[in-house]
Each structure stands twice: as structure tokens, then as C-alpha cells.
Symmetry: C2
Subunit: 591 residues, 2 copies
């Protein structure tokens, strides 16, 4: 059975030593002392290790079942969901006005990582609810907020997002689901939605669907789209549940992974819905939640990888196979443990340096979201730029990392018994949903890069330049961190310039390099994050606190990233500079 | 339902235009004219498309069942296996003395690719039999050959390879299966073997297991290992089947993929076996088949990727989503097909340039094996060097390529319905079995690189140098092929020198970079292969033959590889040159 231990020490280090959160003037931050965050994380970790992780394989093996229109979750999910609710975990970073605890998102996403790593398919029921909560919280009327939010904060009711239809996913302008206005101000929603995560299940009294549909008079394409609240059971004026609405589960998808989550085909047959936000402005309402939702998927990428990594480490220490080339290390055993072998060590270091770097990036991103919620426009611009990078890069690399963890097990990784296959199969979805990674790359190059005249991109590069200038003479950082970061960020700048110069004349020159740009950007961002992280570790070392070993390990892990991962920027740049010609040379018939 | 079409045109081009096989003085080669090879490949393609490909999903969904000790294969497998036998496909490249058709391995592996791409799990039943056939053919006594080979050539009896035990895979010196000599010259074999592909099934009368076990007096470690023939049913003197032997299936493994192949736990309880080859020289007997078996896995890597690619192309042309940034291309449709988008095109070009390059490498490798069987020591040295590269690089990249194909489908790739998940799950195994890719990297750096004083490595580099010298002024090749190949091969040379200089003092400096070296080597090899391939295409273009479009497409695909894939050598070299320090910096406890 796979194990999972929440990385409590790393969270505390990132929150307090790197981000120094308690000293930041943001709502709720001053109360976040080490003891408090430590207690919250430890409790989340206990629930994750004791209850959620053991259900991960169960969820994978049993999957969800649709019987007579009712979706049944795997054995044990219901009890675990109750435990989540009772522990207040669903309400952590929600608005106190609706029963939430008002904790910063920075701490909220840390607990989400813990639950996701332990059991991704399970954590998604609450994750989707949180997304729907945010949409109603931002765009709902007071009546809508009062009707839905308290129950969604407690997860007595869960939420979903209904975008995709059989013929359209990325290109939502094509969607066909119709909303007919009724005299009472409500709408009748008719159409079919697919790939609806947590679409229905037996763990909550009600499911609140947020549905994109076309109401009359909105024009063609995405301009005609509005967002509707469509509850599974209609809610009476007193808040109790009334009739079943005209929405049903058509079928459950058979998927590669996340079997414990019910991915539903949802049929809307004149279901009653209520407009959320402005008419014909549904896309905008959706997009305001995107930064948060996509950062959540970025987190899934490395969270799933972390669970896989932890098990690979256990296996690499336990499994005896071969002898160290530099001399026997386990003379009393029949062989040395796998971890003595340099190629196994490289594999583990790849994973470790990615996961810890990814965590630092996502916590920083969550902090930027906290800032932007408090009205910081620069933070909003920066996180808007970094969101496609974090989502695309961390989910691509998270999958790769899980595959590496599986590889440590050899043939034992390919059989389902050890659970390593599941981590790989689960991690795969993060590259696809919330906008496939190719769409993230397009968003980055075509929208985020030129946004506000390229201001946010320039600010990001200036930020790195300033860092490099400030620490260029720092003995601990100069050679191992500043120099490689400088070189990598120069590659990023060259690529951005190439796009700006060439992209106007031939947009394909930018688009052909978009995925490479996303990855180049991702490496530079992780390089920067690692440099900042190791600066904090260096300070802690110099201050002579406890846990010297933790800080030294942190710095060695960061160095590994700079030496062995950052050189990827050279290759990405070379590909980008080759432009559109090699990519577009063939006619479609030639494929 | 996924489609598959055998790449007949590409095979013919590689065999006749690139390798010019008919003019080569090797057994059977002179008979291989275009018409003959074309007819064979077309027939194989027809069987694959019509019968094997439609069973691929069936095999994945149903898997194999173990009932009362009997393994049942999925519906339709038995009929398809009969069709393989009746068509003579199992006998193609086997020795005519035992009922084979004596066709060169070069053509044999092409037909294997076709069957593998259509249905990998199914093709493995014959593939493993061919491996066992080769072992008996090379090391068996005349009596053993006469007893087993005719039935194995016809696949009336199939074969297996039994190496792995629960506690050892890579480190076979640890194995515990025992062989006790009997007075009649046979042995009684006792022990448990796991991960035995095609271990048992209902498609053949008998299964001939080749089993590694320890006989008394052989000493510790791998030196004490011998190889035994252990048939499921004992064979009487007249060749008919006698009693059931003491070998049984303990259980079937639940795996991530290749569900249609029965991966068995085999229990040997005093089963009767006969020594194959010399006593205590079992490892040597195994290794003589390794080049061929590993080249077969290299083939699986890109074959599975090709099937995935073909379906991604169909989807990219059919699925309407978004508009081309350079102007609408499908004005009568609601949107343009995916294939207009540069990032989709990049994705498909990555796949296409890898798959065609991989095929060219494996066919060249098969040709080298044909040469080495005819006594060519240089060819044997070269293929021995290239084998770990081909196995590791093509299986790693084949999996990546299948993941890319799946990505084209977006959410539709994650659900099982379209079969893209299966290609990914199936392709994953090739990175693990026949020596996990980390072991290939170790074999490359620690054994093959220094083999015969580094002669084969130097010969390979000289071969590329000679090519670059010869075509450095060729207008069609110089800039697009020779220049990047020169740069990449310089990286390879630098890496090899680094290992030679540093590896003696600190072997970890070489081993920490072993996987990067394997990939660097793989890119250079594919770059070289692509340059040769495009030279042949250029000649064909100049000769003004038919099919100009095919040759132009080939050259454009090759250019893509040189421009967009070959730059990876820079990154691999940078990692290698960083040495062991970053990789080995942490103590095991720090993970």
C-alpha cells in the first residue's frame, strides 16, 4: 500500500522563511504564526495519511458506479467526506460571512496539496465545489450567495463546472446548450455537457451545477454565452430542498485514471437555472476564476508527483539490487539498496528538485492571488502571466516526475499492486483539463505576453535582473544560483524579443514555439524560485538555527535544479528560434 | 475504434532506397526485390488492419483470465493466432531446416512492427516464442532443436523467458530457483518466477519455458546460473505430448497495460527441465539473444507510438476547434480542423519525425544483426553498441510520443473510448522490460563504451565524421543536415571523452550521466540516420522518379528533426559535464 506523509517542514519553511508571511500586511496574514500554520498542516496531514491515502487505491480499483440514475462513490469515500466536513477543511479559506474561516489562500492551497497528494480523485469533489463557490461569491447576487454559499462552504452541497460539450471543449463559441428565459426570471436549460468532474455522487445532499449556455440575443461565438446556476434539487425559499431539477447523469466516463471521481455526461432537459453574473458575459465570469482554478491544477501536477516520489524513495531504500560501483555499502545484505546507484539517485533528484520547486512556485502564486484579492494590480498582472506557465509546466513535469517514480520500481511499477501506475494515470489528467497545455501555451504567448503592452513580462524579467544584481556578489549564491539564472533568463528574454519582432508579421512564428516558450518560462521561474528559496535557507544556516541539515539539503537540491534542469532553456530557445518554417512545412495531407 | 495502416511506402523506401538491400551480399537478400517485400508487407498490413487492430481494444478491456489453472485469452485472440500461423507469419525469419522461411531479419522485423503496432499485447505471444526459438537455435543440441524448433516455428508451441523472481530482476545473481540434477541427465526445477510474459494461454498446445536456475557447484552470483528448457507438457520420443510437467500459473498480474498478454507468476515445483547450453553459463546463453530481443523492444517503442500517431492525425484533421490565426481555412465549417494550429502541428511533427527516424534506426539495426549472423565482426560490435541506445532511447521517446498523440485528443484522449489511453499504457512497458532503461544506460556506459578498447565507439564517431566530410559541400545536405549533425556528434564525443577521463578516477562521474549519455547518443544516431535517409530521398528526387511528394515530405520531416530535436544534445552534454557531485550530494536519509 502506498504511503503518504505531508511535507510539513517544507511548508513551514516556504511560508515563514521564504515568504515571511506573518509580517505581510494582508487580511488574515498576521495571525499566521508558525504554531498556527504548523498545527493546521499537521492536522491536515494526519487526515490525509490516516484516512485519504488508504482510500486512494480503493477509489482506483472500484471507481464510481451509476445505478438507476444514482452515482455511487467507492467504499469509504462517504465517511472520509464527512470527516473533511467535520474537520472544517472545506471551509478553510472561504468567506466567514458564509461560514468560512477566512484563512489566506496561501495556507488553503497547502492543505489542498496535502489532500490531493493523498487522494486526488477524492480531493476533487471539494476542489470543484471551491471553484463554484468562488464564481458565485464573485458574481452572484446577495440572494444567490445567501442561498448557495453556506451549504457549499460546508460541502453539504457540492459544485461543478459545466463547459465542455461533445463537439467543443477549447472552442466554447461552438456550444449548443440553450437557455430559454422564463417569465419568472429563471431560464430553462437544455443540452448535453460532458467530462463533468464530480458531476454527481452520493456524498452530498445537493449538487450545484454552473452551466455555460446560450441565451437568445447574445450573438455568435463566445459573445452569446452566459453562466447559469442549475441545482440538482431546486431550493425552496426556506432553504430546504424541493423537487428534482431536470438534470440527470447520462453516463459515467471510463477514464485512464482518477477513477474515484465521477466524470459525468450531464443531460439538461429543460432544467431550471438562474443567471449568474451578467447576461452574455458568461465567459468573463468563468475567466475570473481561471487563475485560481489553474493554479489548483498546477498544484495537482506536483502533488501527485510528490506522493509517487515518496513511495519511490521508500522502494529505493528497501529494494536490494546490485552493488555500489564505488564499493559495497550494505555488506551484511545480499545486495546494496537501489539508492546507492547514481542513475537512481539522478532519477530521485530530478523528482525532488522539481517537486520542491513546484511547491515554492505554487505557494508564491497563491500569495500573489491573496495580494490581488486585496487590490494589488501588479500582483494580479504577475499571477495572470504566471498562471499558464504554472499550470502547463507543473502538470507536464508532474506527469514526467510520476513516470520517473514508477520507473524506480522496474516491473513492480508496471503492475497495479504497488500503486505507482495509478499515480501516473491520475497525474496525466492535469495536462489536459482546465485548458489543455497547448491552450495554456497559446494563452501565454498570444494573450499574457503582450497584455498591457508587455508590462507584466517586462516586470518579471526586471525582477530577476534585480535579484541577480543584488546577489551577484553573494558568495553563497553567485556561482551556483545567480550565474545560471542570469543565463537562463537571457534565453527567456531572447525568446520574448523574437516573438515580439516576428509575431506581428507571422503569428505562426510565435505559436510554433509556444509550448517551448512555456517550458522555457517554467524553468526560469523555477530557477528564480530556487534561488530565492536557497537564499532563505542560507540565511537560516547563517543564523545557526536548528535543522541545519534541512537547510543544507534544501541548498543541495536547489543546486541540482540549477545545474541539471536549467540547461533545458538552451534547447527550448534553439527550437523557438527555428521559427514556424520547420513546423508548418508540410501540408495536412502529408501527415 | 482506433485505426491502423501499415507504413508500406516507408518500409519500401528504407529497405530499397536507403539500405539498398537487394544489392547486398547476405543470405536471402538478393531475393528481396521491391515486388517481393512489397507483397509480404502488404499482406502483413492487411492482417494487421483487418484482424489484429480491431482486437486491440478487446484485449485491453477483457484482459486474460485465470480459471482453474487455465489462462484464457481475450475473445478473438485464438482465431487471430490461427490466422498468424496459417499465413506463415510465425515462420518468416526462422531457419528453413526447422520449417522456417529463411527471410532476412530485416524484413522480419518490419512485419513484427506491423503486428506490434496493430496489437502489441497479441504480437508478444509470437515475439517471445521467437526469442526462445533463437536461444534453442543457438545453444541447443541437435536433439533439442529437432524436438522443439519445428513446433515453435509454427507456433503450435509457444515460448517464454523466465528470469525475474520476486526479489530480483536486474540483479540475477540473487536468484533462488534451484535445479537438481537427476540420473537421466535432466534436472528438477523448483522456484518461483514472476512477470513472465505470455507465460500461459489457450492458443497453443504447449508452452516451452526457458528458465534461469542455479544448479549445484556453480558458485556465487551470476556464475552459478544455468538455462533450462522446461516444457509445460513433457514431449515424448515420438514428439507427441505426454504428462503435464510440474509447472503452473500461480496468478496473473494486474498491469497498467498490455492486458491482452498473460503476465504470469510461474511456479516450478520439481518441474523437469533440460540444460540448454553449457552448465553454469546460463547468463551467456541469455545474453546472446539480448541484442535481438532488445532491438525488438526498441521497435515496440516507436510501433506503439506510430499507431497512436496515426489516430492523432485522423483526429487533428476531423475535429473542428478554433480558427487558424493566419485566416480561416475551413470557411464552410463552424471552425477549422485542429491541424491548422501550429502547436498541434508541432506535436504531430515531433511524433512523425521520431517515429520515422526510429524505424530507420531499427531497420538498420536489424540489417546489422543479419550481417553479424553472417560473421561480420564490425557489424556485431556496432549493433552491440547501438542496442542499449535503441532500446532505451526509442522506448522512452515512444512513450513520450504516445502521450503527445493522446494530448491531441484533449479530454477525449483521457477517456478509454478512443483507445489513446491504451497506447500510452501499453507503450509504458517497453521502458521497463528487457532491462529497465537505467540498466540500458549502465550497459552503454560501463560495458559497451569501453568494449574492445572503445573501438566500436570510435568507429561510430568516425563513421559520422566521414559522412560529414563527404557531404559537407552537398548543397542539399550541408546546412540542414551535415552542420547540425557535426555539432551534435561533437557533443557526443565530448561526453565520451569526459567519461573516459573521469570515469576511471570516479566511476560515479560516468554513471551519474549515463541516462543523459544514452539520450545524447540516441539523438546523434537519429540525426545520422535522418541525414542518410534524406540523402537517399534527395537522390530519388533528382532521379525524377514517381512519388516526388513522398520524398519531399521525407526531407521536410528530417529537417524538422535536425532543427527541433537535435538541439537536445546541448542540454544532455551540460548535464553530463556537471558530473556526479550534484547527483550524489545528498545522503540517502535526506531523501
Amino acid at each position: 500500500m502506498p504511503i503518504y506523509n505531508a511535507p510539513l517542514r517544507d511548508f513551514q519553511f516556504l511560508m515563514h522563511d521564504v515568504l515571511d508571511m506573518q509580517k505581510i500586511d494582508l487580511p488574515g496574514y498576521s495571525e499566521m504564526d508558525r504554531d498556527f500554520t504548523g498545527a493546521v498542516l499537521e492536522a491536515a496531514g494526519k487526515l490525509a495519511s490516516d484516512m485519504l491515502a488508504p482510500l486512494n487505491r480503493v477509489g482506483d480499483e472500484q471507481g464510481c458506479r451509476l445505478e438507476n440514475g444514482v452515482v455511487h462513490t467507492p467504499d469509504g469515500f462517504k465517511d472520509a467526506f464527512e470527516a473533511m466536513k467535520e474537520g472544517g477543511w472545506t471551509a478553510l479559506d472561504a468567506d466567514p460571512e458564509y461560514g468560512g474561516q477566512g484563512i489566506p489562500y496561501l495556507l488553503g492551497i497547502a492543505t489542498s496539496e496535502i489532500f490531493t497528494a493523498a487522494n486526488m480523485a477524492f480531493a476533487m469533489y471539494q476542489g470543484l465545489t471551491h471553484g463554484a463557490y468562488s464564481a458565485i461569491h464573485t458574481h452572484g447576487t446577495d440572494e444567490q450567495k445567501n442561498t448557495y454559499l453556506p451549504k457549499m462552504v460546508s460541502c453539504d452541497w457540492t459544485g461543478t463546472m459545466n463547459l465542455t460539450e461533445p463537439h467543443c471543449g477549447t472552442d466554447l463559441g461552438l456550444l449548443r446548450t440553450k437557455a430559454e428565459p422564463q417569465d419568472d426570471g429563471s431560464y430553462l436549460i437544455t443540452g448535453q455537457k460532458i467530462f463533468i468532474s464530480s458531476g454527481d455522487h452520493d456524498m452530498a445532499e445537493n449538487v450545484i451545477h454552473l452551466v455555460l449556455a446560450k441565451a437568445p440575443g447574445g450573438g455568435e461565438g463566445t459573445k452569446g454565452i452566459s453562466l447559469f446556476i442549475v441545482p440538482k434539487f431546486l431550493v425552496k425559499e426556506d432553504g430546504s430542498l424541493g423537487d428534482r431539477n431536470g438534470v440527470s447523469v447520462g453516463s459515467l466516463e471510463e477514464k485512464m485514471g482518477i477513477h474515484g471521481n465521477a466524470t459525468c455526461v450531464m443531460n439538461y432537459d429543460g432544467a431550471r437555472g438562474w443567471l449568474l453574473g451578467d447576461l452574455h458575459k458568461g465567459m468573463r465570469a468563468m475567466f475570473t476564476m481561471m487563475n485560481e482554478a489553474r493554479l489548483g491544477v498546477a498544484m495537482q501536477g506536483y502533488a501527485c508527483a510528490d506522493a509517487a516520489y515518496q513511495n519511490a524513495v521508500v522502494y529505493a531504500k528497501d529494494r536490494l539490487q546490485g552493488r555500489a560501483v564505488t564499493g559495497t555499502e550494505n555488506p551484511s545484505g545480499a545486495a546494496d539498496p537501489l539508492i546507492v546507484h547514481p542513475d537512481i539517485r539522478r532519477n530521485l533528484m530530478d523528482q525532488k528538485s522539481f517537486i520542491e520547486g513546484g511547491r515554492a512556485l505554487v505557494l508564491w502564486g497563491a500569495h500573489l492571488i491573496d495580494r490581488s484579492h486585496a487590490g494589488d494590480a501588479d500582483a494580479e498582472g504577475l499571477i495572470s502571466l504566471l498562471t499558464p506557465v504554472a499550470k502547463g509546466f507543473l502538470s507536464d513535469k508532474g506527469f514526467e516526475s510520476a513516470v520517473q517514480a514508477q520507473q524506480v520500481f522496474g516491473g513492480h511499477g508496471y503492475v497495479e499492486e504497488h500503486g505507482m501506475s495509478q499515480f501516473v494515470r491520475d497525474a496525466r489528467i492535469a495536462m489536459i483539463y482546465e485548458g489543455a497545455n497547448g491552450v495554456q501555451a497559446l494563452d501565454l504567448v498570444a494573450r499574457k505576453l503582450p497584455q498591457d503592452g508587455g508590462r507584466h513580462m517586462m516586470a518579471f524579467i526586471d525582477r530577476i535582473k534585480a535579484f541577480c544584481q543584488k546577489y551577484g556578489d553573494n558568495a553563497a549564491l553567485a556561482d551556483d544560483f545567480v550565474a545560471p539564472l542570469k543565463a537562463a533568463s537571457k534565453d527567456l528574454q531572447t525568446a520574448a524579443m523574437f516573438f515580439m519582432e516576428r509575431g506581428m508579421k507571422n503569428p505562426n512564428d510565435a505559436l510554433a514555439g509556444s509550448s517551448d516558450f512555456l517550458h522555457l518560462f517554467g524553468h526560469v521561474t523555477l530557477g528564480y524560485i530556487w534561488a530565492r528559496t536557497c537564499l532563505a535557507a542560507q540565511h537560516a544556516l547563517e543564523n545557526g538555527g536548528d535543522d541545519q541539515e534541512f537547510y543544507r539539503t534544501k541548498i543541495a537540491t536547489g543546486k541540482y535544479y540549477m545545474r541539471r534542469q536549467l540547461p533545458m532553456t538552451t534547447t527550448h530557445l534553439a527550437r523557438i528560434l527555428s521559427g514556424a518554417e520547420p513546423v508548418m512545412a508540410l501540408q495536412p495531407d502529408a501527415f
